[in-house]
């Protein structure tokens, strides 16, 4: 039995627990499963993985072999962080009594863990789709307003899965039926299709809107859970299949910059965090594109840090929403008086994402930026320097939307007059643990060294050099000064309630409009076609009646010479048709 467990993908424990949760009416048992399953799965990863790559759980389906378990240094990082996120999410949602959320959350986490631990593209496709189907429940639990967003979310993710499958089949067939998931590359047959599939899930520019559409509409716990898994699974797939693909450098750089401009005008703070998520994904996609060991370590490290600090920020906004009923910046302010612990945790999350020294992204994001700097130094290419400049610009931009805007407009700014209770104990425990991890992963004495021990390559990067600390602080203090200065002179924009248009306008408004117009045109066209055809049939019938009926022209007495000519003419036409038909 114990031997069997060593060959089982740890993600299956989540899926079994999720199915069990759907049947269990006792809330406390379900909640215990939510917390204990990730702990057990992490323990099993530790048991299975030694120092060498492990391949096991091979299943034959017809002529095809599916590798259900492959653990190496790359997948191990994702596996552990997914389990950690599972524990934090389980604690955070302890107060909630919802069987659907508990069950779908576990199945969703399980699909993500299975996805990173499978060894072939067909198995990846199965868990890719399972993650989409199970996670849409979390969106729908957001209430009536989330229904349409959930449908769009599902449609986009199913499309992503279909593209992945199409690409995988083309790739596998060109490889003689070998579907092993390794380095694919953009030039491989089916490679572009799979890159687009991963790009959809990863939030590439113009394919990103599902994040800002669905995440802010999901339930409070649902948003926190969603933020940790889907996009990170896609990042894993990119890191596995497309490391060192140049185009990802530019896509990633673009991803870091454009969300900054949307986040500054967005009023819904959970949507601001969704843009911020997009921005952080950009750093990681860029790192995958660079593909050097330092960049890949930076990507894996930043995935760990991002799951924790982005989860923490979503948790704090969730706690605020639970107590106040809103996450609109224009409706909030002054909450540090009522929710002091949540304020401190949110500030730690904000400091972490902004990469303040002693907080997690200071170590991990800097590895990616340093890799971009070394790459530009080596190549001397202007495009590489532009990429670096974009990353630096985005670092200051992060300070704007997540470092300052979210905590300032929620907990400080003008006093909204709301006096509410502090968040429930379980939310505080989850946020407290996440805050501790944000500090631990950047702690100079044993903290970041522990993080390094998990990364896929040996690390020689020292984050706490004098110049790094000084220049990073210079950037952040300057951004804070700009905020304070612009606020003082009244140039900082007020928060206003509005719907901010993004690229999803093309399918939610323009596309839908075109479909409605085409449907309207089709209805009119079909009415007109039937009217014209009815008139034509009626007219032809009347004409025949006039000619051939007993009272018609043919029955009237006409000169026999004319009737003979007419009959002969009809005979000739008939003969011509027969001749053509026969030949």
């Amino acid at each position: 039995m114990a031997d069997l467990l060593l060959h089982l993908n740890p993600g299956f424990y989540f899926i079994f627990a999720g199915i069990l949760c759907a049947l269990l009416p006792v809330n406390i048992v379900r909640k215990s499963l939510l917390v204990l399953t990730p702990v057990f799965a992490a323990f099993m990863i530790f048991q299975i993985y030694g120092a060498q790559e492990v391949i096991s759980g091979v299943i034959s389906v017809g002529p095809q072999e599916l590798i259900t378990l492959r653990i190496d240094r790359l997948s191990m990082v994702w596996g552990y962080i997914f389990c950690l996120a599972g524990v934090l999410n389980g604690i955070y949602g302890f107060h909630e009594r919802c069987r659907i959320t508990d069950s779908s959350a576990l199945i969703y986490m399980g699909a993500a863990v299975c996805g990173v631990f499978v060894g072939d593209l067909l198995s990846l496709f199965i868990f890719w789709e399972l993650a989409a189907i199970s996670s849409v429940m979390l969106v729908w639990m957001g209430g009536e307003g989330a229904y349409k967003a959930g449908i769009r979310y599902l449609a986009i993710h199913v499309l992503s899965g279909v593209l992945l499958l199409a690409g995988a089949v083309i790739y596998g067939q060109s490889n003689g039926g070998d579907y092993t998931f390794g380095n694919i590359g953009i030039d491989a047959p089916g490679g572009k299709l799979m890159l687009i599939a991963m790009g959809i899930k990863c939030g590439f520019p113009l394919l990103h809107n599902w994040i800002q559409d669905a995440y802010p509409k999901a339930s409070i716990t649902g948003t926190v859970i969603l933020s940790a898994f889907t996009t990170k699974l896609a990042l894993y797939a990119l890191a596995r299949g497309y490391a060192g693909t140049d185009i990802l450098i530019y896509i990633g750089a673009l991803m870091t910059v454009f969300p900054v401009f949307f986040a500054v005008i967005e009023n819904d703070l959970r949507r601001v965090l969704s843009y911020s998520l997009n921005n952080q994904l950009g750093f990681m996609v860029c790192g995958i594109g660079i593909g050097t060991p330092l960049a890949m370590n930076g990507v894996a490290g930043h995935v760990v840090a991002d799951v924790v600090f982005k989860g923490l920020l979503f948790m704090s906004m969730g706690a605020v929403m639970l107590r106040t009923g809103t996450a609109k910046a224009s409706e909030l302010g002054g909450l540090f008086r009522s929710m002091p612990y949540t304020t401190v945790f949110c500030l730690i999350g904000a400091g972490s994402i902004a990469a303040f020294p002693l907080l997690s992204a200071f170590v991990t994001k800097s590895m990616i930026i340093s890799a971009a700097l070394y790459s530009a130094e080596n190549s001397h290419a202007i495009k590489d320097w532009i990429v670096l400049a974009m990353l630096l610009f985005a670092s200051a931009g992060v300070m704007e939307h997540s470092g300052i805007k979210v905590p300032y407009f929620t907990f400080f700014a003008h006093d909204s007059g709301r006096r509410v209770e502090e968040a429930p104990w379980n939310m505080l425990v989850a946020m407290g643990l996440a805050s501790l991890l944000c500090i631990f992963f950047a702690f100079p004495w044993g903290g970041y060294q522990f993080l390094y021990s998990l990364l896929p390559y040996d690390v020689k990067y020292h984050p706490y050099t004098g110049d790094h600390v000084v220049f990073q602080l210079q950037l952040l203090f300057a951004a804070m000064l700009a905020f304070a200065f612009l606020k003082r002179i009244g140039a900082y924009p007020h928060e206003r309630r509005a719907e901010i248009l993004d690229f999803d306008w093309t399918y939610r408004k323009l596309g839908l409009g075109i479909v409605h117009w085409m449907s309207e045109m089709w209805t009119r066209l079909s009415v007109n076609i039937s009217r014209v055809s009815m008139r034509l049939i009626k007219g032809t019938g009347q004409k025949f009646y006039h000619i051939f009926s007993p009272a018609g022209t043919m029955s009237q007495s006409t000169p026999s010479g004319f009737a003979a000519v007419l009959t002969a003419g009809m005979l000739v036409v008939t003969l011509i048709f027969i001749y053509i038909g026969a030949s």
Partner: protein
């Protein structure tokens, strides 16, 4: 001068009255930090990053960058941080005019209250 002094005294008085009321309503852990809500504190917040910036600029002379980018010069990271942040903020107004619509533009209601 006397007018300004009386204005400041009034502001201080209103701050104290507000804080006394807040002390009753606030979370016990937040009480020692209620001064963060004072207008004078928020107005003078600018000095914190300013002092931090001056110190780090001076320290930048002691710890020059190991790897230089083409745009690196004295206090270049401070200039980048300030300009990038300002550019983002100044883009907000034209972008809002261009992209903002009524909250129920898509006919799905406004989410999150």
């Amino acid at each position: 001068m006397a007018k300004q002094k009386s204005k400041m005294a009034k502001a201080k008085l209103s701050d104290e009255a507000r804080e006394a009321k807040e002390r009753v309503e606030a979370h016990p852990m937040a009480v020692p930090f209620l001064w963060l809500g004072r207008k004078s504190v928020q107005d003078n917040f600018i000095f914190l990053p300013l002092i931090g910036l001056i110190i780090t600029i001076v320290l930048g002379l002691v710890f020059p960058p190991e790897h230089e980018a083409p745009w690196d010069f004295f206090a270049s990271w401070a200039v980048i941080g300030f300009c990038a942040y300002s550019a983002v903020v100044f883009s907000a107004e034209p972008l809002f005019k261009l992209l903002a619509r009524d909250e129920n533009y898509y006919g799905e209601g406004s989410d999150n209250g």
